[in-house]
């Protein structure tokens, strides 16, 4: 039986089952069953300069988060619980996009050029470069370089095409190797580890390497085959997402 034809009681039963099992197939069923809500909310915010498909994608990601966090034992309707989450994510998307498009084209182009230059300088000098060195290598002013560094930090929501934050595609543990026993000694870190589950796999790995293993951004970039600027951007976006999740859970 298709989930979208199931009645409310059946959906409540599925939510209760999912709360116990955390089964990804059940989660996907619940997401499918409520896609109409996500699309409805996304279309309400259409005609504001953002493609509807992008808005639906943002709303779908928010819906997924809402399904994962919903507690059926609280007696709340799922739509009542999910609507503020989805609308909040859509508003954040608009805010972030607006912030991003105000970056002048020349700064955007410099930002793209800098990706290559920083990699070359890091390799040549054996350390992270300074702003002066980047400015010299790109024939730009230090002020423009500083602005271009910041231009990469539009805290956009992760694409649905990015690796999932939960579910079956989770080889992260194997890539991280054995858990550092020191982590267990830190109550603070133990509190934060579940929070990282909200991130996509690559972002989770980057946050882990930076904050749990103390690697620098350049070291992480080298290890993962990314540019330092890309790591910087992913790290900033991940922290913004973690902050939003932490606030939501407070």
């Amino acid at each position: 039986m298709a989930v979208d034809r199931q009645d409310r009681a059946e959906l409540q039963r599925l939510f209760r089952e999912f709360a116990k099992s955390r089964d990804s197939a059940l989660r996907d069923q619940l997401v499918s069953a409520h896609m109409g809500l996500a699309e409805h909310l996304a279309r309400r915010l259409a005609n504001r300069g953002e493609p509807v498909d992008d808005l639906i994608q943002v709303a779908s990601l928010a819906l997924l988060k809402a399904v994962e966090r919903f507690d059926p034992e609280r007696g709340l309707e799922f739509s009542t619980f999910a609507t503020p989450t989805i609308v909040g994510e859509l508003k954040r998307h608009f805010r972030d996009k607006g912030w991003a498009v105000r970056v002048p084209r020349r700064i955007q182009e410099l930002h793209l050029r800098m990706g290559t230059v920083i990699g070359e300088l890091t390799q040549r000098e054996g350390r992270s470069p300074t702003v002066g060195e980047i400015a010299q290598a790109t024939s730009a002013s230090e002020e423009d370089v500083l602005e271009a560094i910041d231009a990469g930090h539009a805290y956009r929501l992760a694409s649905l095409d990015a690796p999932g934050a939960t579910g079956d595609e989770n080889p992260l543990a194997s890539r991280l190797g054995q858990e550092d026993p020191r982590l267990n000694e830190s109550e603070q870190r133990a509190t934060l580890l579940p929070l990282l589950e909200h991130l996509a796999e690559r972002e989770r790995l980057i946050v882990h390497l930076r904050f749990f293993e103390g690697k620098t951004q350049s070291e992480i970039a080298g290890a993962l085959g990314l540019s330092q600027m890309h790591v910087s951007r992913l790290l900033a976006r991940s922290l913004a997402e973690l902050r939003a999740v932490a606030q939501h859970e407070d």
Partner: protein
Amino acid sequence: MALGEVRLDVPASPEFFRLARIMVAGVASRGGFTLDALDDLRLAIDELCFALVGEGREGRLQLTLRLIPGGIEVEGDARFADLPKRGPVLSALSQMILGTVVDGYEVILDASARFRMVKRIAQVS
């Protein structure tokens, strides 16, 4: 030329954090910090400003920056039109981030929220 103190006074709202990040990076770059260290500073400024201001409140946020021997010192001071409904706290997430990216920080969150942080060049790898 000695830089002395550099100050920024903006509305207490996250949309002005970008100005703070650019200013801190600009001052720190004059002190010889590398790109990795500048990114650490930018993350720290985001966390500290957010700790003070949250999603935005009626008020002003003032930042004071000083290049000190071997590093940079940043002080933040937020003044609000009204008292918060409940006292904000520095989250475990913020503590983890700040503990990693700067050499020292202190946050005082009451009616007039303040912070002070220090990052040293020597720590940069």
